[in-house]
């Protein structure tokens, strides 16, 4: 197999020779290994070699794209010929484009070094099995834990190459390490399951296996003390940081997506750019260059490098949309931020501690789990099934509500949200504990 950057260069050169006006070639190779354990023994070892090249050809305003997993010279050449031919047959797309030369710049080797996305430590399958066993044993040591669904440790290395006919060339490598366990607790025939995990670029950033196992077991055991609030009506809710991300960040992100704005599929419209839609304290930021960040990357797929940090929402104002080249052209906006999607997004934290945030709540719900797909971007309506602990007289009790309905509207909720000061950057998307004033709760 040829050098992978050369494969991309050759593909682009061939397309131009065949009559393409522009072309881009993106190649990825992943080598992954994962292990599972159950009852202290291997529950399977898995090794994956995954590779593929994605290719896009432009013939004037006509475009086609495609991919293949086979990187041999013959296979890539055949793909390029097929895609150029398909582009010639395609209808004109007035919004098709590659990034303007003025928006691209060379990828800095210093930046790649600074990001520190590659771990040089490797573990063998046997070492990973031992780690998973340690995690499982710790979970099983917690009172109430009856079994586990899975205890997995995995690791991978990824290489990415990108060549575009506008002159852009980039490549970088990353590694990923993760450990995840699902523990089951049981009391009088009532079974509950919960999980804990850690993932990072480097093994050294993964929490000790025993700590992950213990946490999963404790989280599961805490769900055994089940109550029903018998409540129907508006309540203050407090979201665990992971739930803040899912309920507030994930949903808002999809509403800021250029494709949704163009198709009028979001409650946020093009005209809302620069408009205050949310509370003063709502700041959604995105950091592309977090050191060892799970979402960090030296450049976007379009070849645009863009600023390291961007405000999507600032003091409640919608400042930027997530724009790929085509959506930017459709909206008449610049794609210069290089953000068709987010890298390491987060809501800025607040000033109150989580305890102070909860302090004056007489009756409320501390949400630790969200189920379902109950978000509608076009209206912002939210309706999820949630679970969590009753808050009574300013304290999170041990009373677990395993099933409650939470309903509201994202725009309203982001006008009544207060974030605590416990923002941590554990995942690619992060948020602090959040309190929302008036949410409809049944459960």
């Amino acid at each position: 197999m040829s050098n992978k950057l050369d494969i991309c260069k050759k593909a682009v050169a061939l397309a131009l020779k065949l009559g393409a006006s522009d072309a881009s070639s993106s190649l990825g190779v992943t080598n992954a290994m994962g292990v599972s354990v159950f009852e202290g023994k291997s529950d399977g070892v898995e090794g994956n070699i995954d590779c593929g090249i994605s290719f896009t050809a432009h013939v004037g305003q006509k475009v086609a794209s495609g991919s293949t997993e086979n990187l041999t010279d013959d296979s890539v050449e055949s793909l390029v010929r097929t895609i150029v031919e398909a582009a010639k047959q395609a209808p004109e797309d007035p919004f098709a484009c590659v990034a303007d030369k003025s928006l691209i710049q060379p990828v800095s080797a210093d930046m790649i070094k600074y990001l520190d996305l590659v771990d040089s430590t490797e573990h063998t399958a046997d070492e990973m099995l031992q780690m998973a066993c340690e995690m499982e044993a710790a979970a099983r040591s917690i009172a109430g834990v009856a079994s586990i669904r899975s205890a997995d440790v995995s690791s991978s290395q990824y290489e990415h190459y990108l060549v575009i006919s506008n002159g852009f060339e980039g490549h970088y490598k990353t590694s990923s390490r993760s450990a995840v366990i699902q523990a089951m607790a049981e009391l009088n025939g009532e079974k509950v399951i919960n999980y804990d995990y850690d993932s990072a670029r480097h093994w050294s950033d993964i929490r000790p296996m025993a700590s992950i196992g213990i946490k999963s077991g404790e989280k599961a055991a805490a769900m055994l003390n089940q109550v029903s609030m018998g409540h129907k009506g508006v309540l203050p809710v407090v979201l665990d940081p992971k739930i803040s991300v899912k309920l507030l960040l994930g949903t808002l992100q999809s509403c800021l997506h250029g494709g949704n704005i163009v198709a009028k599929g979001s409650f946020i419209n093009k005209d809302d750019l620069g408009t205050k839609l949310f509370g003063d304290n709502i700041n959604l930021l995105d950091n592309r260059t977090k050191v060892r960040g799970l979402g960090s990357s030296p450049y976007a797929g379009s070849g645009i490098i863009g600023p390291e940090s961007v405000n999507l929402v600032k003091n409640g104002n919608v400042e930027n949309f997530l724009l790929g080249l085509r959506n930017a052209k459709q909206l008449g906006l610049s794609p210069k931020l290089g953000r068709p999607s987010l890298y390491n997004p987060y809501f800025e934290g607040g000033t109150l501690s989580p305890d102070d945030l909860i302090d004056n709540i007489k009756l409320g719900l501390y949400v630790t789990n969200v189920m379902g797909h109950g978000f509608k971007a076009i209206t912002g309506d939210i309706s999820y099934t949630v679970a969590g602990f009753v808050i009574r007289d300013g304290v999170i009790t041990g009373e677990y509500v395993k099933e409650a309905s939470l309903a509201g509207n994202l725009k309203d909720m982001l006008n009544e949200t207060t974030f605590a000061n416990d923002l941590k950057f554990n995942d690619s998307a992060n948020a602090a504990t959040a309190r929302i004033e008036g949410v409809s709760i049944v459960g």
Partner: protein, 476 residues
């Protein structure tokens, strides 16, 4: 069918069988799974056809069953060197205990649940591309006859996958799996309000089916009607004191979440299922029969053979309310001492085959839909759903309505905004008070489990669920 795979690997069945058996030595089962797929996709939005995508995917996996667990090495590309490396590396993975359970198989594969002909009818992708474009323009123009329509999104795709499974026991099977998909979505604006609606199909049929005018016009009409109704929707109520009437077809998603996943045998194998040890017990009202059937002609979830090489079946899971069966893979069947049901499925070669649903539905009863609605004093008729989810251990399930309306004193009332519905699998279906006779099986559907997404369908006749079983979560 497998000739392209064999020529890419520069091999034949005899040689692959020998390689597989050598590589999997020491285990008690497993297979070499090889796949070669292509797909074509094109879409249209805001009146513009966007870049067609033509993709090729091929690769394989060697999987060794070791006494009810499995080691697996996967490789992208049908490259003989990759296959040899995987075979060599498999021997390097240390095995735990010696095999003690016997892995059973389930006879010969079925054939012909979908077409084995070229899905494009012999036409080249280049030649098909302009035809697809013309169809999308026709659909777009038809939808825009309604002046409230501000956007029409259309996506069309076709794919075909050849697979060859060479088993450790020396058997081999081939299958050719086609899929033709068309989806239409519309956005309506009226009086400053926006709503969307959609409809489509994705079935293992010749692409000609997508060009049937009556079919796609029905998708558009349905999508517009859906958005129109939701423009009039009032805030959904909340509480657990509503009788629910769940419409036929997609309504089966409740059963899929509340029951289906709980009857997948891998959860039972580890002792974590809500329905653990309940075989032979009543888990639903009398009159409720639930079947998983991978052999329905041209249904989206049908397979001639599952991904371990076993034939698919019509498996009765719940018979007149009594739990009578689980869906198994070879490993879970061996571990639980149950029959292999042909439900082992994998998203692609790089994924482990695990017990999954195919076409899962509640069978017809004998009530009439009109009578079921007429019998409701205070309730909700749910006609369309978004996604659903289940916590397999506690049995808590939830799904979201995308179209529903109030029922008062047997009469249909206002449409209501999307609400979440949640309940407990172990009790909800014991509240079923009526099963109608209008069974319909969906023509779309995807199901996710352990990070693997698969084509499935759900189905049911209209059913009535009494108050107290399912909580409605609205804002009113």
């Amino acid at each position: 069918m497998s000739s392209k795979i064999l020529s890419a690997l520069n091999s034949d069945i005899t040689e692959l069988t020998r390689l597989t058996q050598n590589a999997l030595q020491g285990g008690n089962g497993g297979e070499l799974y090889l796949a070669d797929a292509w797909s074509f996709a094109i879409s249209m939005s805001l009146g513009i056809v966007t870049a067609p995508d033509i993709s090729f995917g091929a690769g394989g996996a060697l999987r060794r069953i070791n006494d009810a667990t499995a080691d697996m090495l996967t490789f992208a590309s049908l490259d003989p060197a990759y296959l040899k490396t995987a075979a060599k590396n498999m021997q390097g993975i240390s095995q735990g205990t010696a095999p003690s359970v016997k892995i059973a198989t389930a006879g010969t594969m079925g054939q012909g649940y979908y077409t084995d002909q070229d899905i494009l009818g012999g036409v080249k992708i280049y030649e098909f591309q302009p035809k697809a474009e013309a169809l999308m323009r026709e659909i777009d123009a038809y939808a825009r006859k309604d002046s409230r329509v501000t956007n029409v999104g259309i996506s069309l795709s076709v794919s075909s996958k050849d697979i060859l499974i060479v088993r450790a026991d020396g058997k081999h099977v081939v299958d050719k799996r086609p899929m033709s998909s068309l989806n239409v979505s519309v956005t309506l604006e009226d009086n400053g309000k926006k709503e969307n609606g959609g409809k489509g199909m994705a079935c293992p049929v010749s692409v000609d089916t997508l060009f049937n005018k009556a079919t796609w016009q029905k998708f558009v009409d349905h999508a517009i009607n859906h958005a129109h109704n939701n423009l009039t929707a009032i805030d959904a109520p909340s509480g657990d004191d509503f009788d629910l009437i769940v419409a036929n077809g997609w309504g089966g998603v409740i059963m899929h979440e509340a029951f289906g996943h709980g009857l997948e045998a891998d959860f039972h194998q580890k002792g974590i299922a809500a329905f653990q040890g309940m075989l032979g017990q009543r888990i639903a009202s009398k009159g409720v029969t639930i079947i998983d059937d991978g052999t329905i002609q041209n249904a989206r979830g049908s397979l001639n053979v599952d991904d371990e090489g076993n034939p698919t079946n019509r498996n009765i899971l719940v018979d007149d309310g009594i739990l009578v069966g689980l869906m198994t893979s070879e490993i879970s069947a061996a571990k639980l001492g149950m029959p292999v049901t042909g439900n082992a499925r994998r998203q692609g070669y790089a994924y482990q085959p695990i017990p999954r649903m195919t076409n899962t539905f509640i069978d017809n009863g004998n009530a009439s839909v009109e009578d079921l609605i007429a019998g409701v004093k205070k309730g909700i008729l749910v006609t369309e759903f978004g996604g659903g989810q289940v916590d397999i251990t506690s049995g808590t399930f939830e799904f979201n309505t995308t179209q529903a309306r109030l029922i008062q004193n047997g009469k249909l009332g206002a449409y209501i905004k999307g609400a979440s519905l949640c309940g407990q699998g172990k009790t909800a279906f014991q509240h079923i008070t009526g099963v109608a006779n209008d069974l319909e099986i969906s023509v779309t559907g995807s199901c996710g489990k352990d990070g693997q997404s698969l084509a499935v369908t759900v189905g049911q006749p209209t059913i009535a669920v009494g108050a107290g079983a399912i909580t409605v979560g609205g804002t009113a």
